[in-house]
């Protein structure tokens, strides 16, 4: 059969968390008999347990469906599932770039949320055709009128384009599939003179090496051919090509418009970057597909094993996780307080949390993380600019001309009644509100600029608590802005504890310092000597608290018969102290750090 790219449609589903994206995908797979009903586990495309538990998709998993349409032709539909979180927005954008259209899913009861807007905008900028779908219409609380109006008002999507559906009960599935064919254009750029395909994901397989998920734009790719990565010029032989049905099935060749996978000689996910363009080595394309960029970690923290003997286990865990996740970066570091560990870089907070959780669960290593930090740009006198992701590495203040911090553009959706409280939170977090839009009679959307480091710790929790769970937020990274930032150190008995060092805005140093000192003073067990816990900026103490003094530790009866026993007991106490983290002369139980860091997260 001659390959006809006009019989292919590539699309994805974009939605806010929990709006039913995965369930809807499953219905589409069922309807097209891609997966028999009986082998469907709930939510087929989310393969990691953690993803199911959190109801979010971290990694995309494409699938090819065959659909005999009402026009009598049989179409090949490639569905890309996309991660729903801003941490992975670059990956989302590459996934979108592999499509010509998107289903925009809205929960009939919830309406348009922050992420809906953010993702819709991403899709618009990629030039995608959007098909609005209102999902969960069979819910008693469904408000179709509100949803349609929001779509028109906020996203300027005409009401007559809306498809009503329910992933759960299978309503509207056929209508969606027909719309995919009639409204989404066939694969673009297929007549480009040379071969090009886009890499939108890579997985590591211990037997076959790197398996890259690709979308072919022009030309064909077969096993045995020499390919070239356009960002680096690296060449490699293609070992295998195939498609997802939904499992990986080998095929003869990938043709224009196809979504599938390739296996080459490349052994590391580092070398095939997401967003890269692959072309034939002997007749390379003149230009890459648009939109490629290198992703850099935005959030850093130190990860340390609780048991120092677990260091090797942690190293192995990070190594394995990185095989599948080139966005994770790590390098060895040592902390006075926590021993040997790793400085790790993440795309964002969720990425950080997920990886920490996976290390604990899948690799069974108990870890503790230091205070998270963003990447600061430090301009030194003389013009040299360095990037600092660990407060410990901040140069001498005397040599610093200016420190800039990353900001975010946040779009926050909240019910009207919480506007006042939300504005105070934004103020507290050193943010500014750029404009306020009315979503409907009950909801507003705030567009604000906030420093990234202010949302690291508890911003989202506070947002949820202020709005009783009804608020939502999405953000994209903004620019770097100069800011009055200082390094705050925490000293125990005069000795700095590196794990607690952080870079803070001068105006917040005292409050934050006091709270850290208080918590630490409370958690350190009572001491024999007077021990101060202090917060300091450049040697100047800005807050202090005292560790509780031990009141009584004496044996009442200690006679001839008790000497041996007592001696052993005292020896044991001494051994117990060895297991504690020694900060100068103070012994601190290792979980003190966790408790402080936990209460701060």
């Amino acid at each position: 059969m001659k390959h006809d790219p006009t019989l292919t449609r590539n699309f994805c589903i974009i939605a806010h968390v929990d709006h039913g994206k995965t369930t809807l995908s499953d219905r589409l797979l069922e309807y097209t008999s891609t997966i028999a009903k009986r082998v469907m586990t709930d939510q087929h495309l989310d393969s990691m347990d953690l993803e199911k538990e959190r109801g979010i998709t971290i990694k995309m998993h494409p699938v090819t469906m065959t659909y005999p349409a009402k026009d009598g032709k049989t179409y090949k539909l490639n569905l890309m599932d996309t991660p729903g979180h801003v941490d992975f927005s670059y990956e989302v954008s590459r996934s979108l770039a592999a499509c010509e259209g998107a289903l925009l899913l809205i929960d009939a009861a919830q309406g348009v949320e922050a992420q809906t807007v953010a993702n819709a905008h991403l899709a618009f900028t990629q030039g995608l055709k959007i098909i609005p779908v209102i999902n969960k219409i069979d819910l008693p609380s469904a408000n179709l009128e509100l949803c349609t109006r929001q779509l028109e008002d906020i996203l300027t999507i005409p009401a007559e384009e809306v498809i009503l559906a329910s992933g759960k009960s299978g309503i509207g599935i056929e209508e969606i599939l027909e719309a995919v064919i009639s409204r989404i254009p066939p694969p673009r750029w297929s007549d480009y003179p040379t071969t090009r395909m886009l890499v939108f994901d890579s997985k590591y397989d211990s037997y076959r090496g790197v398996i890259s998920h690709v979308r072919v734009f022009s030309g064909t790719f077969k096993a045995g051919e020499m390919m070239m990565l356009m960002s680096s010029g690296q060449k490699s032989e293609i070992k295998e090509v195939g498609m997802f049905h939904p499992g990986m099935i080998k095929c003869k060749e990938l043709r224009p418009g196809d979504v599938g996978y390739i296996v080459s000689n490349i052994k590391s996910v580092d070398e095939i970057k997401i967003g890269d363009t692959i072309t034939h080595a002997n007749k390379p394309a003149a230009e890459m597909l648009p939109g490629y960029k290198e992703v850099h970690p935005m959030v850093y923290c130190g990860l340390y094993p609780l048991e120092s003997s677990d260091y090797e286990k942690l190293k192995v865990a990070l190594g394995k996780l990185r095989l599948n996740d080139s966005a994770l970066q790590y390098q060895q570091e040592t902390s006075v307080a926590l021993g040997f560990g790793f400085r790790c870089g993440f795309l964002g907070l969720l990425h950080m949390e997920i990886l920490q959780e996976r290390i604990r669960r899948e690799y069974d290593v108990d870890i503790i993380s230091t205070y998270p930090s963003v990447v600061y740009r430090v301009k030194k006198h003389g013009g040299q600019v360095i990037e600092v992701d660990n407060p410990v590495n901040l140069p001498d203040p005397a040599s610093i001309e200016e420190i800039s911090e990353p900001t975010i553009k946040a779009s926050i959706h909240i019910p009207n009644e919480f506007l006042g409280d939300m504005m105070s939170l934004i103020m507290e977090k050193r943010g500014s509100c750029d404009h306020t839009d009315t979503l409907d009679s009950t909801r507003v959307m705030l567009t604000c600029t906030l420093p990234l480091n202010e949302i690291l710790v508890d911003f989202n929790d506070r947002l949820k608590s202020i709005t009783h769970g009804y608020g939502s937020m999405d953000y994209e990274l903004g620019d770097y802005r100069p800011s009055d930032l200082v390094k705050m150190e925490i000293l125990v008995n005069g000795d700095p504890v590196d794990a607690f060092a952080c870079i803070v805005h001068r105006s917040k140093a005292e409050t934050q310092g006091r709270s850290l000192c208080e918590k630490l003073a409370e958690i350190i067990p009572p001491q024999m000597f007077k021990i101060a816990v202090q917060a300091a900026i450049g040697g100047k103490i800005i807050a202090r608290d005292n560790v509780r003094e031990m009141r009584k530790d004496v044996t009442a009866k200690c006679y001839g018969g008790d000497i041996s026993r007592k001696r052993k007991l005292l020896d044991k106490q001494k051994e117990g102290k060895k297991k504690m983290k020694q900060i100068g002369k103070v012994s601190i139980p290792p979980d003190a750090f966790i408790q402080v860091l936990k209460t701060n997260h």
Binding site: M528, F529, K530, M550, R551, K552, D553, V554, T555, A556, K557, C558, Y559, G560, G561, D562, I563, S564, K566, R567, K568, L569, L570, D571, Q573, K574, K577
Partner: protein, 397 residues
């Protein structure tokens, strides 16, 4: 090469003899000392074995300076049994000891027993009063009423022993400061020569420990510290000088046997669970009557937890346990006694105690703990042990 303690241990320091009488009528909630209810021929076999054990000790002509009979309840022995134990004691002491203490429970004090004890040469009676408050005595599971305490005290005084001690306990569950003060005042009214006041301790293997772990009683270090302080102040004002954490005496009535222990001299322990520090070794008898009988019959003694007494170990322990006493330790004297110990290791730590107000020192090198320091004696002790890096216990395999 292990160095043995210098010769001065042998001749110049006093030797104590402790005899553990393991019998009790019932078990007190707070007591962790080894005791058993006497059954069958347990008492005669015990008395014979004590005599046999004295023969196993290599006395090498050493004279016993002080004797202490503790328990258990030595008073549970009948008058003639006390005489038999006393005779065995005198056979090895090399003459009448300077001080001879016997612990008695109020319910066991009878004229015939006291007469035998005085005849033997006992100089000091220690009466286990615990409290004068009937309710608190009940709560402790004790076996006497306040009235028995008064009667016992009268009988002891009438017999004319040189020194009488009363044991009291404080920080009992539900005890108020006023109640404790009343107990102390009542004890002072009787005008004993010596007072031991013990903060209730939760020892493993006691009924109280079980209650503690079940959450029925709670530890309250703040309250305990307050009780301690009040006790020390009150007794000091009343003419009873504190000489150790839990011990107070009128001039000349401090218990020499116990001072001997805290000064890390030597003592021989007889009977089940009794500990010895003698002839270069430290060790205990098994805390079980039957097992101890077997050991004695086999010619073995003090083999549990055997530790070789190196000068380093004795040096550390002299400081750790010496600091429990108000007189503290005379560092120059200890340095002369254990010249090879690594004293320099301590010299970083000790000044810190002084700076922090936990200890004081005199120009001639005596170091003692302040009241706050005494309340933290265990923490200070383990810090001192940690400061001497190489002086860990050397168990014998």
């Amino acid at each position: 090469m292990v160095e043995f303690p210098p010769a001065q241990e042998k001749a110049e320091t006093p030797l104590g003899l402790y005899v553990h009488v393991p019998f009790c009528a019932t078990t007190c909630d707070f007591c962790a000392f080894y005791q058993t209810v006497p059954q069958g021929d347990a008492v005669p076999r015990y008395l014979e074995a004590v005599a046999a054990e004295t023969a196993r000790v290599e006395w090498a002509g050493r004279r016993v300076a002080t004797v202490f009979w503790g328990g258990g309840t030595p008073g549970l022995l009948r008058a003639r049994e006390l005489r038999q134990l006393g005779e065995a004691t005198l056979r090895c002491s090399g003459g009448p000891p300077e001080e001879w203490s016997v612990e008695l429970a109020p319910a066991t004090v009878t004229p015939d027993r006291l007469a035998v004890l005085q005849e033997l040469g006992v100089t000091r009676i220690s009466l286990g009063v615990q409290s004068f408050n009937a309710g608190l005595l009940d709560a402790l599971g004790r076996q006497h009423m306040p009235a028995q305490v008064y009667r016992a005290y009268e009988l002891i005084r009438a017999q004319g022993f040189a020194s009488v001690n009363l044991d009291l306990m404080f920080a009992l569950p539900g005890q108020s400061e006023e109640q404790w003060r009343a107990d102390l005042a009542e004890a002072l009214r009787l005008a004993p020569d010596h007072l031991s006041t013990y903060c209730l301790t939760f020892e493993e293997d006691t009924a109280l420990w079980v209650k503690l772990s079940q959450g029925k009683v709670k530890l309250d270090p703040e309250k305990e510290a307050a009780f301690y302080r009040r006790t020390w102040e009150f007794l000091e004002e009343s003419g009873y000088a504190q000489y150790e954490i839990s011990n107070f005496a009128r001039p000349g009535h401090a218990c020499r046997h116990n001072l001997n222990t805290w000064r890390m001299h030597e003592w021989v322990g007889l009977g089940p669970s009794a500990a010895s520090q003698f002839g270069g070794w430290r060790g205990s008898n098994p805390p079980d009557l039957a097992l101890w009988l077997t050991e004695v019959a086999a010619g073995r003694r003090a083999q549990a937890d055997q530790t070789r007494l190196t000068p380093g170990l004795l040096a550390v322990d002299s400081v750790v346990f010496g600091l429990r006493m108000n007189e503290g330790v005379r560092l120059p004297r200890l340095r002369r006694r254990f010249p090879t110990a690594r004293w320099e290791a301590l010299m970083d730590f000790l000044p810190k105690l002084i700076i922090e107000g936990l200890a004081e020192a005199s120009v001639e090198g005596r170091l003692w703990l302040t009241p706050r320091g005494r309340l933290l004696a265990d923490s200070i002790g383990s810090a001192i042990i940690a400061a001497f890096p190489s002086e860990n216990l050397t168990p014998i395999l």
